[in-house]
Amino acid sequence: MRIPVTFGQYVPVASAVHALDAKAKMGLVAAFTTAVFLVEGFAGLAVMACFVAAAIALARVPAMVALRGIKALAFLLSFTLVANAVRWEPATVSLVRVGPLALDGPGILDGVFFASRVVLLVVGTSLLTLTTTPVQLTDGLERVMRPLRAIGVPAGEVAMMLTIALRFIPTTAQEAEKIVVAQTARGARFDEGGPVRRAKAFVPVMVPLFVNLFRRAEELAVAMESRCYRGGEGRTRLNPAVMRAVDWAVLVTVSTALIAAGIAL
């Protein structure tokens, strides 16, 4: 049973955005986020929306995939809208009044503004994980965190832990499945009873899984020490991700444009 497992949201397609260095993309996300918060009106939001649309098109990612994250936000968005649109005994004129609660024109506009901002942030930042593999992200994160080593952040070790976690996700998933099947063969049922009973039913799965994970960690540690791992210092990389001129160019120009737009609009 060798079904390939794709982790997270990475969409394996060749595009200009995919080809950009992960660090450049992280920088762009930071600039984009800043710009979105700087924007003060709908005109500015519209500009940011155009930017996101252009990025999605350049990334050659299906629009439906890119917009998938919005569904999960439905509750948050409705809450934002309502919280802003409904006022308690406002002094100003309102559209509709029901007792002490009033639906208020400017409030609705505020609600829409803030909700739109959330949507833009989520879609914009998801472009990072859609176009960058987890390994590239981890490597980029390590490089970006490196200056923090001066204040004691173990950037190399954190990156190594993330890499190992990523490496073992498909393996652990396979193992969990095997354990579930084995306990099912012993008559265990996972779909009976209320929430407490169902939670307890997973003990025969979680315990062996964790025991195996600890054993795995021990053997892996022996393997890593045997292969001369002694922390993140002084390690070279087989496929180092280097910022090329084009990466810098895109990062600087697009970031500047975004921030300028944010300030202006």
Partner: protein, 276 residues
């Protein structure tokens, strides 16, 4: 009273781009007292077949019947006990007795603890000494036997084991073989293995698979009379048996083929004497 499978077919991820046909029409017949050895190389479909027999998978086509009812029927629940590869990685309880009693308890047995104690005794682990121990403190061979006891405690009329001796040393393998042999008194046993050598001497029937199809099905005597289909499926016979087969091919008048080296030596030296 038998476990009967007719024309079993199974395709993984059917209908998707990752479709993989694993079984292409296999028959099985298992009764109390049988030891069926299902042999095949990696990818031959043997583990898939076992899961189908246990009712854990639904066949793409064909039927699996347990004493008249379908294997996936409610009535069949607990009638086929299965032991997976490396079953000791499924321990979860604080005491061995509690872990082994898990199966019978789930099936609503009257006295799960008693069944668990009997099962532990059946695999050679004294319940008084081992019952209270944590399953995580057992040695490799002990753990394997304890995990098998977990299936035995279910008292199912059919026992299905996937590679029960893999990864054990000589003593561990012998202990497991003994435990399996004892179960034949009250159950039909099917063993899946990529290395059938140690099971052949006591097997009642051999089913060799090759790329999802039956390469050979018959008794051990039939296998030894014509070993080609079995060998062509990529499987090995014990070296002692192969030596006698080579001698027979050369023209030495071999009688029955022996599995035990001493008995084989007697046959070979007699055949050598008879030739001249």
């Amino acid at each position: 009273m038998a476990l009967v499978a007719a024309n079993l077919c199974y395709t993984y991820a059917a209908g998707t781009a990752y479709e993989v046909p694993a079984l292409l029409g296999v028959d099985v017949h298992l009764e109390c007292g049988d030891l069926l050895v299902i042999a095949g190389t990696t990818g031959s479909g043997k583990s898939t077949l076992l899961r189908l027999l246990a009712g854990l998978l639904q066949p793409s086509s064909g039927t699996v019947g347990l004493d008249g009812s379908s294997a996936s029927d409610r009535r069949s629940r607990g009638r086929a006990a299965m032991v997976f590869q490396n079953p000791e990685s499924q321990f979860f309880a604080e005491s061995l007795l509690a872990d082994v009693a898990f199966g019978p308890r789930n099936l609503g047995a009257q006295e799960p603890a008693r069944l668990a104690a009997e099962a532990l005794a059946a695999v050679g682990l004294d319940p008084d000494t081992f019952g209270d121990r944590s399953p995580f403190t057992l040695s490799g061979g002990e753990a394997r036997r304890a995990a098998i006891a977990g299936a035995l405690a279910m008292r199912a009329p059919y026992l299905l084991l996937d590679e029960p001796t893999a990864g054990l040393d000589g003593r561990g393998r012998r202990d497991v073989l003994l435990a399996i042999g004892r179960e034949r008194d009250r159950a039909g046993v099917a063993v899946v293995t990529h290395d059938p050598e140690e099971f052949l001497p006591s097997a009642t029937r051999v089913l060799a698979l090759r790329a999802g199809e039956t390469a050979f099905a018959g008794s051990v005597d039939e296998l030894l009379a014509n070993p080609s289909p079995y060998l062509e499926a990529g499987l090995r016979l014990p070296e002692v048996v192969m030596a006698q087969l080579f001698a027979r091919d050369r023209g030495l008048p071999m009688g029955a083929i022996e599995f035990e080296p001493e008995a084989a030596a007697v046959r070979l030296s007699h055949a050598r004497g008879a030739r001249s």
